[in-house]
């Protein structure tokens, strides 16, 4: 392909990527090193508020932003602060003290480290489960009678179609308080169960939910891959006396390896940004994730304050985390790619 034609083809998507991915990334990167604050002044104000029968008036000293007379907007100052926002998110000194004195609980009291702990655990535990369950479903469907395949594929795809936040809310409602599944469990085990009263049950539900939700995606990809397995190789393996397990181990899995790497890549990127489960399960008392932490910094409180700088820092840290997780897989892909080209 001529270079000019190539540019015409990729140009539009390159432009959109620059506009919607690169530009925001640069702006977040810059925002994580600067803080924009309103200029404030202290004034004494008398506030009269409504009671039921009569007003109550109080005089308080308030800190309020200065408003520019001409533009009518709040006067702000922007300052470059170096690594300050990162320090506020990571709290390196406190974290180091906790690590040095083997104080696990102390480390977990720092939001970032607690979020990192859960996010990494969540990512690494769901990864093999998603690949394993996806492959199992694919093999099962592949071996099922032709007439059954259509319905089975349809049913197993359903979890993937549900919007994540809706899915997690449904699970929450099934289990919270006297939800019907909690009732069922209580009747079965004959004891009182509160699924949302301790961290480990919530984490278990989250892991279960994510695997249930994402396994169909892995299944579809693997199922497509299974259709391309070389039948001659399989048959000769059978003639050589290879068992079902041997065939899976030495023929099918090596054949599917590029797909496994692909799914692992997608899943690592997705699950490191775990967020819907925290919101859906209202889990923030027990468990938080890095993405939730960024969201929490960014959300305005009643007085309209947002912690933009810390949110930016936390977002950059999340991105760095994903890149670190992806490096081994990317190196593998790169090696294969180079190996294949000659």
């Amino acid at each position: 392909m001529k270079f000019k034609t190539f540019i015409w083809f990729v140009g539009p998507s390159l432009f959109l990527m620059l506009l919607f991915i690169a530009a925001p990334l640069v702006s977040v990167f810059l925002d994580s090193f600067r803080i924009t604050q309103p200029v404030v002044q202290t004034v004494e104000t008398e506030t009269c508020s409504a009671g039921f029968l009569q007003q109550t008036c109080t005089t308080t000293i308030n800190t309020v932003p200065v408003i520019d007379e001409e533009t009518g907007r709040v006067v702000t100052t922007t300052e470059w602060v170096g690594w300050l926002s990162y320090e506020r998110v990571l709290e390196p000194r406190r974290a180091w003290d906790a690590i040095r004195s083997f104080d696990y609980n102390g480390l977990m009291q720092i939001d970032f480290w607690a979020a990192l702990r859960f996010t990494v655990m969540f990512t690494l535990v769901t990864l093999p489960l998603v690949i394993g369950v996806g492959l199992a479903i694919a093999l099962a469907v592949n071996n099922a009678a032709k007439s059954l395949r259509g319905p089975i594929i349809f049913v197993s795809l359903l979890p993937f179609i549900i919007t994540p936040v809706i899915g997690s809310l449904s699970i929450y409602w099934l289990f919270v308080g006297d939800g019907i599944l909690t009732r069922g469990l209580e009747a079965w085990l004959d004891r009182d169960i509160a699924m949302f009263a301790q961290a480990w049950t919530i984490e278990l539900l989250m892991l279960f939910y994510r695997v249930w939700h994402v396994a169909p995606f892995a299944f579809v990809i693997f199922y497509a891959g299974l259709q391309t397995v070389n039948q001659d190789t399989l048959e000769s393996a059978i003639i050589d006396g290879a068992s079902r397990w041997d065939r899976l181990r030495y023929v099918i899995i090596p054949h599917l390896m590029p797909l496994i790497v692909f799914i692992a890549l997608i899943h690592l990127m997705d699950s490191y940004r775990v967020f819907d489960e925290i919101v859906g399960f209202r889990a923030q008392a027990y468990v938080i994730s890095l993405q939730w932490l960024t969201f929490d910094f960014l959300a305005a409180d009643d007085a309209g304050n947002r912690a933009f700088s810390r949110a930016s820092a936390s977002a950059m840290l999340t991105m760095i985390g994903i890149v670190i997780l992806l490096i081994p897989l990317l190196r593998r892909t790169w090696r294969d790619h180079k190996g294949g080209s000659h």
Partner: protein, 410 residues
């Protein structure tokens, strides 16, 4: 997050709104100019905006996300909304940015139905017109209290004693309910108890002041309450507590007045007529009831022409006139003339008129930061990970960083 907004507005199930749909037949003037309004979506706002729609050319936007949209919407020039529905918690960003206008002239011209109590004044200027009050107060199962021969508790120590007696009798799953979902709700429950013990959140120099006697006493009391509560209390928001009541699973709770009407909604409640209300209990002897007072009301944008503002205000007055109260008498504890308190509002009114009276929720930038810090850090105390002192120290540390980032502290 959703939960926090719902609770903030003291929202009631929207299911009941249809009941008020036919209450807006008349309007005293024909509205010629386009008017828009952004407010919360709970029952009282539905009643008010329904009345305003009757005047024509009015588009209300009832949205529980209103507080994130309002500051930016009003900062635009011209403002995206002429009118806004706010509470004492959410008026702060608008006041700070100067995007709402003083209403004194307009009140003089069109406010003949308003009582002085409805005027929210900052340094003598009226910045908002309140239409209702809301507060968290005691709701209890009158039948259980009568059966067991219990007195209605007036102090939190009595509440715990009553809870023990109810637990003993085993008539409900859990004697107590509380809006202690981590985040906004948990922080608000702490606020209630903290002011009940006479605490002040922030010093005059913006440094935090919750790691104090009052803070420790408040956490101690809340921890003792949890012994009588559903173990899932950290996900228990206002709707959750309301449903616990409706399904007969709890016997007492300090709950929002705006939730009272739902208790007698036969479509969802199994305890119609069995819930009574009383003043919020005292945390300490001689103190104010351990709760805060809230109002909801209307503001007018600054970035619009005077003529538009006049028209919008006139329309707003149609919304909060006695006819609205007549059409929806139980939708809120109205401040509008013509409101007749019913049985369910007795508790809220007793709370608001107590002597000493509970404070209004402090509407300041510092309080916004403090509320977030409390909501994020206190949960660790209730999960048993840290002690009360450690939790309050974490709150102060978290507040300090946020205040530094917001430019309030050096």
């Amino acid at each position: 997050m959703f939960v926090k907004r719902l609770a903030l507005a003291g929202a009631v199930s929207l299911a009941a709104t249809t009941a008020y749909a036919d209450g807006h037949a008349t309007c005293s003037f024909e509205n010629e100019t386009e008017v828009t309004m952004l407010s919360a979506a709970f029952e009282a706002w539905v009643a008010v905006t329904d009345a305003m729609v009757a005047c024509g050319n009015f588009e209300p936007e009832l949205d529980q996300e209103f507080r994130t949209k309002q500051p930016e919407g009003f900062a635009a020039n011209p403002s995206l909304y002429q009118l806004g529905g706010v509470s004492n918690g959410t008026i702060t960003p608008l006041l700070n940015a100067g995007t709402i206008r003083p209403l004194d002239d307009l009140i003089e011209a069109y406010g003949e139905n308003l009582t002085p109590n409805q005027l929210i004044q900052i340094d003598g200027q009226t910045m908002a017109v309140a239409m209702m009050v809301n507060t968290q107060h005691m709701m209890y199962r009158s039948d259980i209290f009568a059966d067991l021969g219990l007195e209605v508790p007036t102090a939190w120590e009595d509440v715990l004693a009553a809870a023990a007696a109810i637990q003993e009798a085993g008539v409900v799953d859990y004697p107590l309910g509380a809006t202690m979902a981590s985040g906004w709700n948990l922080a608000q429950d702490f606020n209630n108890m903290f002011v009940g013990f006479g605490g002040t959140f922030v010093n005059d120099d913006n440094t935090p002041n919750v790691n104090s006697e009052a803070g420790l006493a408040a956490l101690d009391m809340m921890m003792r309450m949890t012994e009588y509560m559903d173990p899932e209390f950290l996900v228990s928001d206002s709707t959750y507590v309301q449903q616990q009541f409706q399904q007969g699973r709890i016997a007492m709770a300090n709950l929002w007045a705006s939730r009272a009407a739902a208790m007698n909604n036969a479509e969802e409640s199994q305890v119609v007529g069995l819930i009574a209300t009383s003043a919020a209990p005292l945390a300490m002897e001689g103190g104010a009831p351990a709760t805060t007072l809230w109002w909801d009301g209307i503001v007018v944008a600054a970035n619009i022409s005077d003529a538009e503002a006049e028209n919008a205000f006139r329309l707003a007055m149609e919304g909060i006139n006695p006819a609205t109260v007549e059409a929806a008498p139980d939708a809120a504890i109205w401040l509008i003339p013509g409101y007749e308190p019913n049985d369910m509002s007795a508790g809220a009114i007793a709370t608001a008129t107590a002597d000493p009276a509970p404070p209004s929720y402090p509407s300041t930038t510092q309080m916004g930061l403090m509320h977030t810090a409390l909501g994020n850090e206190l949960a660790a105390f209730f999960t048993g990970d840290v002690s009360a002192e450690e939790a309050l120290a974490a709150v102060e540390a978290s507040y300090t960083v946020a205040a530094q980032e917001a430019g309030l502290l050096e």
